[in-house]
Amino acid sequence: MDDIKKILIYRTDRYGDFLISAPFVYSLKKKYPKSQIHIMCSAYNENLIKNFTFVDKTMVFKDGFFSRFQMIFSYFNKKYNLIIVLDGKRRSLYHSLFLKGKRYCLIKNYFLIKFCSFFKINYVINSESQTQFKNIAYLSNLIGFNLIKNNVFENYQFPKFKLNLPKKYIVFHLDEKWFIKTYYFDYTDINPSTASILKILNFILKNKNIKIVLTTGYIKLPIIDFLKKYIYKKKHLNNNIFIIENSSFNEIQYIISKSKALICCEGGVSHVSYFFNKSTLALYEGDRKNFHNFWTGHMNKLVAHHREDIKILSKSNSLFYKKILKTLG
């Protein structure tokens, strides 16, 4: 294993998925510093992933039958010392079979477990009975190295942003995940009104001497316009709440990196805050406790709260408000 020169990792899903496996890639690079690490990623992630100094090359796993067929030809018989399928997807595993190299897969799917057992492909079951982080740590042990729990954003190359940020602030990330019409339909709809969001913001300002940076997601939400109208009218709010709209994920990462804490729905942003060691209050789907633990169980500074409970925002003494205070310290 000491002569490892080229490594290919498949992580063709979302950015949060890549982030959870970023310590794996980081540790692999530390173990084999002379190796070239190539990441097969999705089109969404490429621009973010290539900023990590431990990634040498990114390649987009294309959509569409013909593009994939073409990809097989262009990669056919390419030689890697290690091929690691971290996303557990069939398409990635099948594609990897056309390449030469020692293969390891992190898989959940029952069919793929049978497939790998039959063809004697090294695999690790990505079981939800424990955190995904532990499963990835085990995969690293199987390959022959230990996971380094370090800040993977060390030496991350942020572009220069022109952002108007206060000195000391917390981030309130109000994205599409707060509304089921713009997110998964089987999630509990929080659907907060302008008044309830203002109530939370006021609660923070009243109890903690800290400014709030309100960030948004990719999708434009009508609530932001209502909030803006109201906040701009009130001097007290206008001086303490900074709304940053239409920001790229890279900008959001930067904003979180400079913040004191984060309030959000569980997802990519909470993974970012973990690596910057920020206190985080994340909302998650209550009936998916195991699923939630699978994704976030390793985050030591994360306070979780059921999405259902947030419906009772009117009660200022509710558990949600207590958790806000706990998160803000």
């Binding site: 173990k31 477990i113 057992s117 690790v124 079951i125 079981s127 939800e128 009975s129 424990q130 532990k134 499963n135 740590a137 085990y138 042990n141 199987l142 022959g144 190295f145 230990n146 996971l147 195991n290």
Partner: protein, 348 residues
């Protein structure tokens, strides 16, 4: 130890029942003794004993037995000692079915990269480590790059006064100078016909230069087991601790427990870092080469007072550092996540 509630442990390891008393001093049995001394409600499954006579579906039979035992006993902790008849997938299934149970394992074979069976040993250890909350090994985890050092801890080969009962340092006229027992696998019990252990030449060279040796398992002398092992041990002044493979920090075969625990003066190999626990030439004697070992055997066989003194101090130190009660208490502290008040040198 007193816990607020009774702790229930299901200990699954080779209990050697099928060996009819031949291996009553096994590692698994000592661990059982230690837990009982710590007031643990312990249930044990001898995985290999259970499968004796089962030719087909062995893995499924074992899985079902463990599954039913966990259901009936509802242990707080399931502790695996090797259990190689279960497959990786079975451990995953157990973990998924019993999410609130703590799973732990101990592994006592060498994990030295240069060892001939390294890949096999590594995969046996790793097949359980993913879903074990805590792992115990007889090597320092810090020197291994494939174990999760946050949940893997060193444990020594334990001794128990009920098993290691001899006190050879009290006797002067012992018939043999030095003891060594070799085997080609403790389960097999007899020597393999065309197999040569790398230690044989080393031991043969010693027997050429030292007259009063008590060596078993080589030169057509069969290995010894059970009470006979203790009978032969009781006739010797000193014992050689010689492990297979290249030196690796803290690893030792359980031979060390038999030698030091029974009051024989121990010759320990250098580069295993046992100097961290035993003072050189006061509690144990260390050697690097065969010539050095031969010279030291000759020297101490003539200096009985010094031999008895070192044996006694080594015996006392071994029993105070590595006794079953302490080793299992340390294991409990890691499994149940509590702090040991009085830590010994080998504890993290």
């Amino acid at each position: 130890m007193n816990f607020k509630k009774t702790i229930k442990i299901l200990h699954i390891a080779d209990m050697h029942l099928r060996h009819l008393g031949r291996l009553y001093y096994s590692f698994g049995r000592k661990i059982t003794l230690g837990f009982i001394k710590n007031n643990i409600n312990l249930l044990q499954i001898g995985d290999r004993d259970l499968l004796t006579g089962t030719l087909f579906n062995r893995n499924s039979v074992l899985y079902k037995s463990i599954y039913k035992s966990i259901n009936n006993f509802t242990p707080d902790v399931v502790l695996f000692g090797h259990v190689d008849n279960l497959e990786y997938k079975d451990f995953v299934k157990l973990k998924e079915n019993f999410k609130n149970t703590i799973f732990a394992q101990y592994f006592v074979d060498t994990l030295d990269k240069n060892f001939v069976n390294f890949d096999k040993h590594k995969s046996r250890f790793l097949s359980k480590s993913q879903f074990c909350d805590v792992n115990f090994i007889t090597t320092d985890p810090a020197v291994l790059d494939f174990v999760d050092s946050n949940k893997t801890f060193f444990i020594p080969n334990p001794v128990d006064f009920s098993i290691e009962y001899l006190k050879n340092f009290n006797h002067t006229n012992l018939p043999y100078d030095v003891f060594y027992a070799l085997s080609h696998g403790q389960h097999r019990g007899i020597l393999k016909k065309k197999f040569k252990d790398e230690r044989e030449d080393f031991l043969k060279d010693i027997s050429l230069k030292i007259k009063k040796t008590s060596f078993f398992g080589l030169n057509n002398v069969p290995p010894i087991w059970g009470s006979e092992f203790y009978d032969q041990l009781s006739k010797c002044k000193m014992g050689i601790n010689l492990s297979r493979g290249k030196p690796i920090k803290y690893y030792s075969s359980d031979r060390i427990a038999a030698i030091m625990g029974n009051g024989l003066m121990a010759f320990l190999q250098k580069n295993y870092f046992y100097e961290d626990f035993f003072q050189e030439d006061k509690e144990a004697v260390f050697y690097k080469s065969i010539n050095e070992l031969i010279n030291k055997i000759k020297f101490y066989s003539k200096n009985d007072i010094l031999r008895k003194k070192i044996s006694k101090l080594g015996h006392e130190k071994y029993h105070s550092l590595f006794n079953t009660t302490l080793v299992t208490k340390y294991m409990l502290s890691k499994i149940l996540d509590f702090k040991m008040i009085r830590k010994k040198e080998w504890m993290i």
